[in-house]
Every structure is written in structure tokens, then in C-alpha cells.
């Protein structure tokens, strides 16, 4: 088979496929698509390396709109399928694209196991807190009490807090990004790909049709600065329109303070350490909820733990060295073998 090499410099447009994009006008998914295309350019990815593997949902149509390799699989199983792709070919850049239903309802088990095994791949989870494609039933992240098509009297389920669940499963990389911040998103995608391990990126995505404004308090022009703290490794935890609010630790609880009030200075604030092994503070950060706290966004945790795919490759190399067998013929003819001679 002849191979074509792409040596020209690619632009974001080169990563768009020829298929018409079919999301609703105004859907948050468009911004994610764009940020991804930009991130791939920034990563100087050739077109044939990234593979997008999705489940089923509005979000999961994503691969059709990218010009690289893609696989629109079945509901909830994208992480499991991606695991096979990753193990079969370590040279690919593997991106799982999924929704809150796809990854947290039917796909919950594959999600926590993928996190635990820490395979070197990225999961972009479009969290619109609703089942979009099936037209508006509540999902495992829908806020308690919400009226949806399947909860005409309001839900009675406590939602998952994705970050908390992920850390509980041993996540090595967890980030949270609103769909309204393309710049942050692009950067996070780049970091996710660079991270050696399973990078989970939660996008707070807006479904204009079935759950409009679910994240409005966090993403709205008016609110976003006061209600969001964008974390950066090594930087103090500052937020607010006037960038005068910050976070400090008070025993086992976070606290919001105002710089300038009660003698608080920037130096008193917590400095974000995404790379510490101890998850205690990361857990507090992901748990912060309005109205008493801002929502934490950016890369919250990013630590090195052994990646399954690398460990497997190492084990294979080691076995290649130390096995007593050198070929299949050797194996087949080993042990209790006997010969029948022609008589």
C-alpha cells in the first residue's frame, strides 16, 4: 500500500471533514470542535495520527466532523474500544469523545476502569447534564429536582460530581472547562495530549434545546468571573471581576477571602499545585459549589502514575528477552513431545 506523507503545515480547517455539521444552531458542541482543531494544529499533529472514538449521543457525532481517523461506536463503550486501539498501536493519538449519558450512565464502568488503568489517552466528556440525542431525559449529572422529559415531577437522584468520581477512581489528569472559553479549552486539550496517562477533560457544555443555560451561572458574561476560579499550576487561586477574591484553607475546608479585607494579601492565598500526589486539596477543589464557592476550572490534577499501555509494552519486551521460547515452532515442539517415525 502506498503511503502519502503530509509534510505541509496544517491549519485548523484542514482538520474539518467534508461532512456537514448537524448539531443544533447554538449548541455548545461547535466550540469544542473548533478548539480541538486548533489544539491539533498546536500539537503539530499530522492528519493520520489522531483517532477520535466516540459512543452515541449528540456529542458522539464529533468524529464525523474531523478529517482524521474516527470511529462512532456504540453507546457507552467508547473508552473500552479506545483501549483496544491504544494497546494495538502506541503511535496514535487517541481521543475519546463522549457525553454525560454515554460515559456516566451506560458507560460508567468503562470510565472508572479506564481511569484506574491510566491508559495513555484522552477523554473529552461533553457534560450538558441531559440526554440530548434522545430528546431530553435526565442524566446522572442532571441537578436534583430538575423537570425533564423523563422526570415530569422533578428528578429524585443525587447527581454524580464527575471530578469527585474521577479522583475516587484514581484519576491522574482531570480538568474542567466551560464551552464558552475556547482559549482555555485549546490549552487544556494540548496539555491532556501531552500528559502520559488517562486525561479526563470535562466540558461544561450547553444544550440549547433540552437544557439551555444549565451552566449559565458559571459561563454567563455577568457571572463567569465571580463564579469561576481558573486554576493554573503554580499560580495563586485568585478570581472575581476585580481579581480580588481568593481561596484559603481553613482546617479541612476551603474558604473564600477578599484581598485587601482583614489584611489578606495575595501571598495568603493557596497556590495551585496540580502535580501533588496527595489528592486531598484537589478533592476539595472539585467539590466547590455555588453559591458559597466559585466553580474550579482548568487543570485540577495532573500527576504521574504508571500507565497501563506502557507497562504492558515493557512486560512484553521483558518477556521477549527472558522467555525460554524463541519461536512458535519452538513452543509447539517443547515439553512432552514424541515422534512417530514412518514405519
Amino acid at each position: 500500500m502506498e503511503e502519502i506523507t503530509t509534510n505541509c503545515v496544517l491549519t485548523a480547517k484542514d482538520f474539518a471533514s467534508d461532512q456537514p455539521v448537524r448539531w443544533c444552531p447554538g449548541c455548545g458542541d461547535y466550540a469544542i470542535l473548533k478548539s480541538m482543531q486548533k489544539a491539533l494544529v498546536e500539537l503539530q499533529m499530522p492528519k493520520e495520527r489522531p483517532v477520535f472514538i466516540s459512543g452515541i449521543g449528540c456529542s458522539s457525532r464529533f468524529p464525523y466532523y474531523m478529517s482524521s481517523y474516527g470511529f462512532h461506536t456504540i453507546h457507552g463503550r467508547a473508552a473500552a474500544i479506545a483501549t483496544g486501539v491504544r494497546l494495538a498501536n502506541p503511535d496514535l493519538s487517541v481521543w475519546i469523545i463522549s457525553g454525560d449519558g454515554d460515559s456516566l450512565a451506560i458507560g460508567g464502568n468503562h470510565l472508572i476502569h479506564a481511569i484506574r488503568r491510566n491508559l495513555n489517552m484522552n477523554l473529552i466528556l461533553f457534560n450538558n447534564e441531559i440526554y440530548g440525542l434522545t430528546k431530553g431525559q435526565y442524566s446522572p449529572t442532571t441537578q436534583r429536582g430538575k423537570v425533564t422529559k423523563s422526570s415530569p415531577h422533578g428528578t429524585i437522584e443525587n447527581p454524580f460530581l464527575l471530578g469527585e468520581l474521577a479522583l475516587g477512581a484514581g484519576s491522574s489528569f482531570y480538568a474542567r472547562v466551560p464551552d464558552t472559553n475556547q482559549k482555555l479549552m485549546t490549552g487544556v486539550f494540548v496539555e491532556a495530549e501531552k500528559h502520559k496517562g488517562f486525561s479526563l477533560v470535562e466540558i461544561l457544555q450547553n444544550c440549547v434545546i433540552f437544557n439551555d443555560n444549565a451552566h449559565e451561572e458559571i459561563t454567563g458574561k455577568e457571572n463567569k468571573d465571580d463564579n469561576q476560579v481558573v486554576l493554573e499550576h503554580g499560580k495563586p487561586m485568585i478570581f472575581g471581576k476585580e481579581r480580588n477574591k481568593g481561596l484559603v484553607l481553613d482546617c479541612l475546608q476551603l474558604k473564600v477571602v477578599t484581598i485587601g479585607e482583614n489584611g489578606v494579601t495575595e501571598d495568603d492565598l493557596l497556590v495551585h499545585d496540580a502535580e501533588t500526589e496527595n489528592p486531598a486539596l484537589h478533592q476539595m477543589l472539585v467539590r466547590m459549589q455555588l453559591p458559597h464557592f466559585p466553580i474550579a476550572t482548568g487543570i485540577i490534577r495532573k500527576v504521574q502514575t504508571p500507565a497501563y499501555d506502557e507497562a504492558l509494552r515493557e512486560q512484553i519486551s521483558l518477556e521477549k528477552e527472558r522467555s525460554k521460547f524463541t519461536s512458535l515452532n519452538h513452543l509447539f515442539l517443547s515439553g512432552n513431545v514424541f515422534e512417530i517415525k514412518s514405519s
Binding site: R49, G70, R77, K320, L328, N336
Partner: protein, 625 residues
Amino acid sequence: MLLKSPAGRENEKAYMSAKELKGAVIKFAGDSGDGMQLAGSLFTSTTAFIGNQIATFPDFPSEIRAPTGTVAGVSGFQIHFGSTGVHSPGDTPDVLVAMNPAALKANMGDLKPAATIIVDIDTFDRKNFDKAGLEADPLTDGSLDDFQVIKAPVTSMTKTSLADMGLSNKEMMQCKNMFVLGMVYWLFSEPMEPTIQFFERKFKVNPVVVEANKKVLLAGYNFAETVEAFTSSFTVPPAKKAPGMYRNITGNQATAWGFLAAAQKAGRGLFLGSYPITPATDILQELARHKWTGIKIFQAEDEIAGICSAIGASFAGDLAITTTSGPGMALKTEAIGLAVMTELPLVVVDVQRGGPSTGLPTKTEQADLMQAVYGRNGESPVVVLAASTPADCFDWAFEASRIAIEHMTPVILLSENYIANGSEQWKIQTLEELPEIHPPLPVSREEWSPYKRQAETLVRTWVTPGTAGFEHRIGGLEKEDGSGNVSYTPANHHHMVKTRADKVAKVADDIPLQRYLGKDANKLLVVGWGGQFGILVAAVKEMQEEGQSVGLVNFNYIHPLPKNTEEIFGKFEKIVVCELNNGQFVKHLRAQLPQFSYEPFNKIAGQPFRVAELKRKFYEIIERK
């Protein structure tokens, strides 16, 4: 009685007072802790080593350590060996070794008339009768009158022979199996050398154990000889076999090795995504030992992740397989549909066990056939194959891989507990003897599109991520033929459903014609499939020898059927379809070849057929007007 030195067999041609047999069936039975599986395996190795044909069938309880002394706790190992005609582990043992009353009770109904029974007389007491649920002592109540019973004090003799070695009671008891093995070796005039060498290899670091086992083995052998309990001993001359290298192999091991070979002949990596389940786990475990081959083993969180990871690996270019049994198979059906729609190569192994539901996890059955052929949503055709003996599992794993890759389709390979755990001699195939497997690749970029098909076979190409210039997307929504884009067009859907069905049907052009036994017969055609092959051969051959016009065809290609199936069926007056289920292949045949009339013969007891019950049925059909 002649002296037969254990190692002297090769030279000494004088012991002809031992009856020469064409073959014999031995069953070792005892508690799970009695080491019956080991005794059986060692006997198997020895008899294989001297060149007999063999077929074995281990049969153990589903509990890890079932309660001692109970019938539910009996673990058995049956071996059939002989110089010719060994097609199955055999119906009815010639010799039963029963380590306790429960083992006797569980097996005495199955014995050949006048069979030899060796019991450990030390275990025959009231306590053990109670555990076994026996009212009276079967040794004295007359129920064994027609058999030759050898009452051996196995427990006490074992202890006596180890008395001076400073072993604990537990350690001594673990040697009991060697005592009966020694007796059986004597009975069949078999050499003890291979077994002694095994001890020396296995327990190298522990010479006391080597010594103890050797002592007990010899004690058993000598006991058999000295007490003159047996009225005669037997000898089974070596089988006539094609020249070549041989080894003993179980079905699961052969399956695993078949895949290793196939990946190599296809020039692809091998990927296994699997979740443990009885009786398929051994394939996973065997392959896990061979990371040196580069195989990527993924023990998944469940069966769905197992098959899904395999689909991902297939998309990425590996020969991808997943292994399971019935309940796991049920969980994989949605994902198999995805492989059908995306036309990716994939092999799904189902080692069948008793169902429905959890059913009889350690028993054999052939009841997943309909699930394999039809058990998916929508029109979802796949290729279905079935292995028929422990050794040919190698060939069918290889063939399943070849078809999957060359025809870009999921292939379901049905094995069954009976052959998966059973063993037989495998004429070793080296890689050089195996055919190449040719993945379908595009010829040029220009003419290519993801769902463009090869005209005769309807097979699309296998272009994998990372290949520059061929970037494309696939998925589970209906595809436009050629381009592979999503399509909801009615006519395209009709076309694609037909095309997927035709593609699978055309596999029939690429497989050999069905072979059958009984070219001159025309009365009754016995039809079987999969792993009951050996037993059906035995039954049909006996009937042919008895002058009956009976033929046999046993299918390995289940879907599509070989092209000459119709022709074979047409030659016979009557057709009987024998299966270990309630009639599934017969339904499949009615659907595929409705012009014939089929009589089903079904057994659903978690156990293989017996030659006798088959023959009884066949005679009844032949004689019926």
C-alpha cells in the same frame, strides 16, 4: 503371572499372556482433593508417549473444594486410549478407580459389563456411606456382583510405605493417587519411567517429595502384581499414526495456539480482550503465558469491554479475538453487531457450557448455536464455525482468524466444554506447514474508498489509523456503500442488508467441500456438528461394521454451510440430527435447506453422547417403517 519390569517393556516381547486390547477406557474418580486430575493426566502422558491414540475428559464439580465424601464433590478424569478407533473419551469405562463410596456411587451406573473396579477399601465405612447418601455398603449388598471388584487398602498402604519418611499425614495423603496409578500401570502393562521422570522434573527442589511419590507409585504397582487380585492384565499396542511429531493437547490450549499461529501467518499483532469465565478461561490463561510472542492481553472489566477492546484493536490493525462462554456471549451481542456494521475482522470464541442462565457452568452442552447465528438486533449476519476435537481446535482457531481477516467479518467459533477440557494427541503443525493469511489492502489511494468492495467476495479493505492519506470514519449507523458515509436512504439500506448477507454467504466459495463418512451408504445420514464428532464417528463406524447403510456428516462450517451440503443430504433416505441441546442445528438446517426432512435426536444432560444410546436411536430409525 509374568514379571513385567516397568522400564523393560520396549525390549521384552514375552508378556503376551496379557490380553491385547484395541483400546480401553479408564475412569479415575475421587474427592476434589484426591488428585484424580493429576493421576489421569500422568496416565495420559504415558500412554501418549508409548504411541497410543488418546482422548480424555475431565469432569469436576463447580465448587472450588466441594464437601469431601459427597457425590456433588466427586472429581473425575476419564481416558480412552487405544491403537485404533479412539474417537472420543469413551462411553463406558472398562476400569473404574473409586477413591471413596461417593466416587463409586457416582460412576457405577456407567460401567461396561464385567468392568474392573478398584476401590480404596479404607474409605468404605458408615460415615462415608452417609456422606455419599448410600443406605447400604455397595460392596456387600450385591449391586456389584457383575463386576470385578478390587478392594485395595489404598490409604493404609500409602501410609505404610511412607512410614519412615517423616511426612505429615496431609502430605502422605496427597500421595494416595500415585498408589492407584501404579496399580493401573500394572494392569495395562504400561511403563512407569515417564511418570518418575515427571516427579524428578516437577519437584526438583524437593527430593523428599520425588522419593515419596516414587515409593507410593511402586507400592501400588507391586501391590497389583503381588496380591494377584486381577484375573488378568492387558496391553494396548501403539496406534498406527502418520509419521511426525506429536504432543498431548487440550482443546483450550490448541485454540490459544491456533490464534498465535494465525497472527503470525497474517503478519499482524495479536490482541485478546477477555473476561474470565468457565470453561473458557484457560484460553486467556494460556495466552497470558506467551507475552514473549508480543500478544497484547487485556483482561477487561467485563465481557462487553472484552469484545469492545478487541473491536478497537481490530480497527487499529491487530488480529483481535475475544473468548467467553454462554452468559458472556449474551453480553457481547450488541458489540458483535457493531463489528458487522463496520465490517471489521473479529473472532469471538464461545466455549459452550450448560444453560440457560448460569446453568451448569462445568458441564458440556451445544446450546449456543442459535444465539451465535441469530442472537443480535437487526439483520446481522456473521460466520459461525465449530471445532470438533481437542486437537482440531488449533485448526479452527486458525481458520476463524483467516476468514475474519480475509473476509472482513466477525467470526464466531463455537467450542464446548467437552473438547475444551478434553485432550488428545496433536500432530504438531509447524508454521511452515500453515497457509499464509492475506489481509485485504487497497491497491492505490486513487480508486479507494472505505466501503469499496472487492467484486467477487464483496470484501472491503482494512486500512488502519496512522496510514497517511486514507483518513476515514466508520461507525454503527447505516453506511452508504462505497463511501462509507452515514446514509438513511431506503434503497441503500436494502442494498446494504443484502450485501452484508451476501458477503457472508460468499464465504462458502472459500471453504472446502464438506467431507462425510459412508460414500456407499444411503439409508440413514447421521448429522452432527462440533465436538460430538468423535462419539458420532465411533457409533457410525460400529454400525457400518455391523453392515448398516449409515453415513455421517459432522459440520464445522455452520454458517454458511458448505456448498455440497444439499448434495450429501440428497443421497440419503433419512436424516437424523444429533445435538446436545433441544434441537438448534436442526432448526438452522430447516431454515437453510427446507427441502429435506430432519429428525432431531437431542440430549440435554450436561454430558456427551454415548455410543450405545446413539446406536440404539439409529437402529430404531432404520427399522421404523
